[in-house]
């Protein structure tokens, strides 16, 4: 009985994984074919490899800069919003703040805005108002990190709140009784228990920042270009360079995979949380 269900679940997961993986496999296929070979009766399997796209991408020094910018911006933003979001959620769940449900709801409205129109005011603000002397936020990594907060901070707050709600308040109170400071309670009592939620929030906000295109395309020019803006360079009036785009995407999967596997461990660790507490 037990063995049979193991087999069943394996079959199930292999099927699900094949569906999930197919478009990614196809991405790889696109990256190792010249465009002209895409315009023919499609073949499920690869018969030959065309490495020119990889040579092009590897020798392209600007792309390396973009990769670096992307890493800094998404990691910086994910850490910032997760921290701020965690603190905000702690405040929202532990204190009796006036109008807190309205504030909670208001935060998410920041994510709802259709982005295209907000580019103009953001551009104007960042070039003309949010500046100190010669330093303006336009085309800086810190500028992007801050702008992404409008998308990711609401997300962080909304995904962390259920987690923090789920952590019994008796635990903090017990700690306070023992004379712990607020900082200690947050960092040593609540945070460890919220780790699965924090890990998922980190991962997802990182991904959102990593993949964001429209804001980065408008608000960076030379110094803070990210990988997605680099991708868009291959979509031009004269068309789209599918192969190079696909190749760059294959490369973008690598750092993302590393970040994911680093953070995923903590979700697993979270699994034992129930047992420890019980």
């Amino acid at each position: 009985m037990k063995r049979q269900s193991t087999w069943l679940s394996l079959v199930f997961w292999i099927a699900v994984s094949l569906i999930t993986l197919f478009p990614i496999y196809w991405l790889f296929v696109i990256s190792v074919k010249p465009a002209v070979d895409l315009f023919t009766t499609p073949d499920l399997f690869l018969k030959s490899f065309y490495w020119q796209n990889y040579l092009d991408v590897l020798t392209d020094r600007t792309l390396r800069g973009y990769m670096w910018n992307s890493l800094i911006v998404s990691s910086g933003n994910a850490l910032l919003v997760t921290t701020l979001g965690f603190l905000a959620c702690y405040a929202l769940t532990r204190y009796d703040l006036g109008g807190k449900e309205s504030i909670f709801f208001w935060t998410i409205t920041n994510r709802m805005a259709p982005p295209a129109v907000f580019l103009l005011p953001l551009f104007l603000l960042m070039t003309s108002y949010y500046r100190i002397g010669n330093f303006s936020l336009l085309d800086t990594k810190i500028g992007l990190i801050l702008v992404y907060c409008t998308l990711n901070l609401p997300f962080a707050i909304w995904t962390l709140r259920p987690t923090l709600d789920g952590i019994p308040k008796d635990l903090d109170e017990a700690a306070y009784m023992d004379g712990a400071s607020s900082w200690k309670v947050i960092s040593e009592v609540v945070f460890p228990l919220a780790r699965p939620g924090v890990a998922v929030t980190l991962m997802l906000t990182w991904v959102f920042a990593w993949n964001e295109y429209l804001l980065a395309a408008t608000l960076t020019n030379f110094n803070a270009r990210t990988l997605t803006t680099g991708l868009s360079e291959y979509v031009t009036t004269t068309g789209t360079e599918w192969g190079v785009m696909a190749t760059i995407s294959v490369f973008t999967l690598i750092p993302a995979l590393i970040v994911f596997s680093l953070v995923q461990k903590h979700i697993v660790a979270g699994l034992t949380f129930g047992a420890v507490k019980g």
Binding site: S9, L10, F12, W13, P23, W26, L27, T41, L84, G85, L87, L92, R94, Y95, D96, L97, E101, I103, F104, F105, T109, N110, R111, M112, A113, P114, P115, A116, V117, P121, L122, L146, C149, T150, I157, W158, T159, R161, P162, G166, Y176, S182, P196, V200, L204, W210, N211, L231, T240, M245, S249, T252, A256, L257, S261, Q264, I267, F273, G274, G278
Partner: protein, 291 residues
């Protein structure tokens, strides 16, 4: 409980950041929505025109049809994602060999940029040379043509969105499920509850805040989808997949219709807020209070 001052102090950075990068631009957009402004009109200046933009909107066939298809797209995409995501999250709660690998595989679509997702799906579905229409034709004699058939294009955008974003639902629900305290489940088992009873009376009520938060996020993201669809169909065929995000993009980018585009955005934002607020007041806020 500690003093509320500390609470406000912890909340303050969030409020400040969102004020400067969310509220201030929003106010500008609202202001612009009451103006006519196209930098390539005969008069390129910003001219106040009262509620004219909004009046035009109500009769704007392009906007209304865009609204309609967007709502349909959002409904089908989000519903499918939540159901699938929940089923998969539950399946991940069990132990089985290779679980870590399967979970990593399952999250892979998330790490792909929307413009890439749109590109791959375009190449997979282009008539005659795409792999999907090719096999549909060979195996079932079905002619999938996303360049001609509105239904086909619509369906493919939904499938693409489901493929891309179901993992997000799965992940947030896993986080919620693993944080559940085991006591109520043990108690229920002792009391002899069956699986279905446990699901309806214990699991669902306990994780519904997380489900709703996820629905919210997906809902609002689906309502403003741009990149994927722009790459996949460009909004076509005709206006079949010209979702609001795409519609607004075309209004303000190539057409430089800033005033009118702002009005459309304000209305879209308003509608999104109303829908979400109703959901929130009805479902989430009472729970938060209880908790």
């Amino acid at each position: 409980m500690q003093s509320n001052k500390l609470g406000w102090f912890l909340l303050a950075p969030t409020l400040v950041v969102l004020f400067f990068f969310g509220v201030v631009p929003f106010l500008y957009v609202v202001w612009l929505a009451f103006h006519q402004w196209n930098p390539f009109a005969v008069d390129p200046t910003i001219i106040y025109n009262g509620a004219e933009n909004f009046r035009r909107l109500v009769f704007d066939q392009a906007f209304l049809s865009s609204l309609g298809v967007t709502l349909a797209f959002t409904f089908f995409a989000v519903t499918t994602q939540v159901i699938l995501g929940y089923v998969l999250a539950q399946a991940f709660m069990r132990d089985f060999p290779g679980k870590a690998i399967f979970r990593t595989i399952h999250t892979l679509p998330l790490i792909m940029a929307p413009i890439i997702v749109g590109s791959i799906w375009k190449l997979m579905t282009t008539p005659s040379i795409g792999i999907i229409p090719h096999y549909l034709d060979q195996w079932f004699g079905y002619d999938l043509n996303i360049g001609q058939s509105a239904i086909a294009a619509f369906t493919i955008t939904v499938i693409m969105d489901v493929w891309h974003w179901t993992p997000l639902v799965t992940l947030t629900l896993i986080a919620a499920l693993v944080s559940l305290p085991p006591d109520p489940f043990e108690q229920a088992q002792i009391d002899g509850a069956n699986r279905r009873q446990i699901f309806w009376h214990i699991t669902l009520p306990m994780i519904s805040p997380a489900i709703l938060a996820t629905v919210f996020i997906r809902l609002m993201d689906a309502l403003r989808t741009v990149d994927e669809v722009l790459m996949l169909t460009g909004g076509g065929p005709g206006s079949a997949t010209r979702y609001l995000g795409v519609h607004i993009f075309r209004e303000v980018f190539p057409r430089t219709n800033y005033g009118y585009g702002s009005a459309v955005s304000v209305i879209v934002l308003y509608l999104t807020i109303v829908v979400c607020w109703l959901l929130f007041v009805g479902l989430i806020a009472p729970r938060n209070k209880k908790a």
